[in-house]
């Protein structure tokens, strides 16, 4: 069975902003599979920020990974993928209502991760996804709680209009878990014992966009 790891934009951004993109090449060799992004994610990572001076260097670093084939842009089944994206977005964004209006909670790039996972699953790939972004993770792992979460966050009653939205039933990894594996495998070599380096890595990622709690960081450190 061919293995595939699909990345969302938030996880790549977190790794880039922490200067951790170098871990992807050795991790891919260990993983023995493909690292994919969708064209929608490529747009978020490269096209949109390419004219923002602040992120020019980071964009070039990601471009290099794509040129070297470490990360591949999935260019097959474009029509099927787009169709799947639209279908998922239609369901997710027409499920919850507040004050009489549907709440649009997810966008195209994020949805494309779930869509590509479904397509590759059908092709008998063993698929895993890396997502730092919180809402996409809810949809994959815990969509039944989305109503409660939205109610808590929006401080307003939320009506669930249908039960079409189902969980993807997959365990999502984040940039934080990738960094921990890289540390465990000796890919990341920094002064200090593993607990100290894990602490530094996880807080670094937390402060650059990875949705990880302090409690999670403390628990993760105990695993080393």
């Amino acid at each position: 069975m061919v293995k595939a790891l699909i990345f969302d934009s938030s996880s790549i951004i977190s790794l880039t902003l922490n200067d951790l993109l170098f871990i992807l090449k050795p991790l891919k060799e260990i993983y023995k599979g493909e690292f994919f992004i969708t064209s929608q994610i490529k747009r978020e990572l490269i096209t949109i920020p390419s004219n923002i001076k602040r992120f020019e260097l980071e964009v070039l670093m990601i471009k290099k990974l794509i040129e070297e084939g470490i990360i591949k842009v999935y260019n097959s089944d474009i029509n099927e993928l787009n169709k799947e994206v639209q279908s998922i977005m239609k369901i997710v964004n027409n499920t919850f209502k507040a004050k009489g209006e549907f709440i649009k909670i997810i966008h195209e790039g994020e949805t494309s991760i779930i869509a590509l996972r479904r397509i590759l699953n059908k092709k008998n790939y063993e698929v895993n996804i890396i997502v730092d972004e919180r809402v996409t993770r809810f949809i994959c792992e815990n969509s039944s709680n989305l109503q409660e979460i939205l109610e808590h966050k929006l401080h307003t009653p939320i009506k669930k209009i249908n039960n079409v939205l189902t969980e993807e039933k997959c365990t999502v990894l984040r940039s934080s878990e990738l960094a921990l594996i890289a540390l465990e495998k000796g890919i990341i070599n920094l002064p200090g014992n593993k607990k100290e380096v894990a602490d530094a890595l996880l807080y670094g990622l937390k402060y650059q966009g990875c949705a990880i709690t302090r409690e999670d960081i403390e628990k993760a450190k105990k695993m080393f």
């Binding site: 951004i13 966008h107 994020e110 972004e133 878990e177 966009g209 993760a220």
Partner: protein
């Protein structure tokens, strides 16, 4: 425009708050607007929220109040705000938008460190509202798209200012790490 009545009420209160130099009230009004905008994604509500928040920041910073450009900026902001309200009352959305934009566009005619300060205030106001939308349960990409900014800026800002709560947790980290170990074995 989806929230005309609400925006009108917010703007009228913002005008009073600005006249009274009440930055706290302006921030409160901005937060109320973005709360509604998280549901409706109404661009006018977002634009009002950003502008009011930026004004709250501008009036609370003492270091620029002695600059010669400062009184004119505030005086004009009040005039544009009044005109925006008047146009919205007449249901002229286009003119309302134009007047609201003029508040921010005043920055273009400035120079030196006060220009940099005002530009930064408006940029941070935008990112602050984006953070609030994200905290309201809207995805990062959707938030970036609605506010017309990149995810990079958003994540860079969230990292420094964002907060992750117990509600953001879906799976125990031990499960994730075990799973990661398995697929990278």
């Amino acid at each position: 425009m989806k929230e005309r009545g609400h925006i009108l009420e917010i703007l009228k209160n913002a005008k009073v708050a600005l006249e009274q130099n009440d930055s706290y009230e302006l921030k409160k009004l901005s937060n109320m607007t973005i709360h509604t905008a998280s549901i409706s994604k109404d661009v006018d509500s977002i634009s009002v929220a950003v502008t009011i928040y930026a004004l709250s920041k501008i009036i609370e910073k003492d270091q620029y109040k002695n600059k010669k450009e400062w009184p004119d900026f505030i005086k004009n902001a009040k005039i544009f705000l009044e005109k925006a309200i008047a146009n919205l009352e007449k249901d002229d959305v286009e003119l309302f938008r134009r007047e609201l934009t003029k508040i921010r566009n005043q920055v273009n005619s400035l120079s030196g460190d006060i220009k940099t300060f005002f530009e930064e205030v408006f940029r941070k106001a935008m990112l602050n509202k984006a953070k609030m939308m994200y905290e309201h349960g809207i995805s990062a990409e959707e938030t970036a798209s609605v506010l017309g900014i990149s995810q990079w800026e958003l994540i860079d800002y969230f990292g420094k200012a964002g907060s992750v709560t117990k509600y953001d947790k879906t799976t125990e980290i031990e499960t994730r790490v075990k799973y990661a170990r398995k697929i990278f074995s």
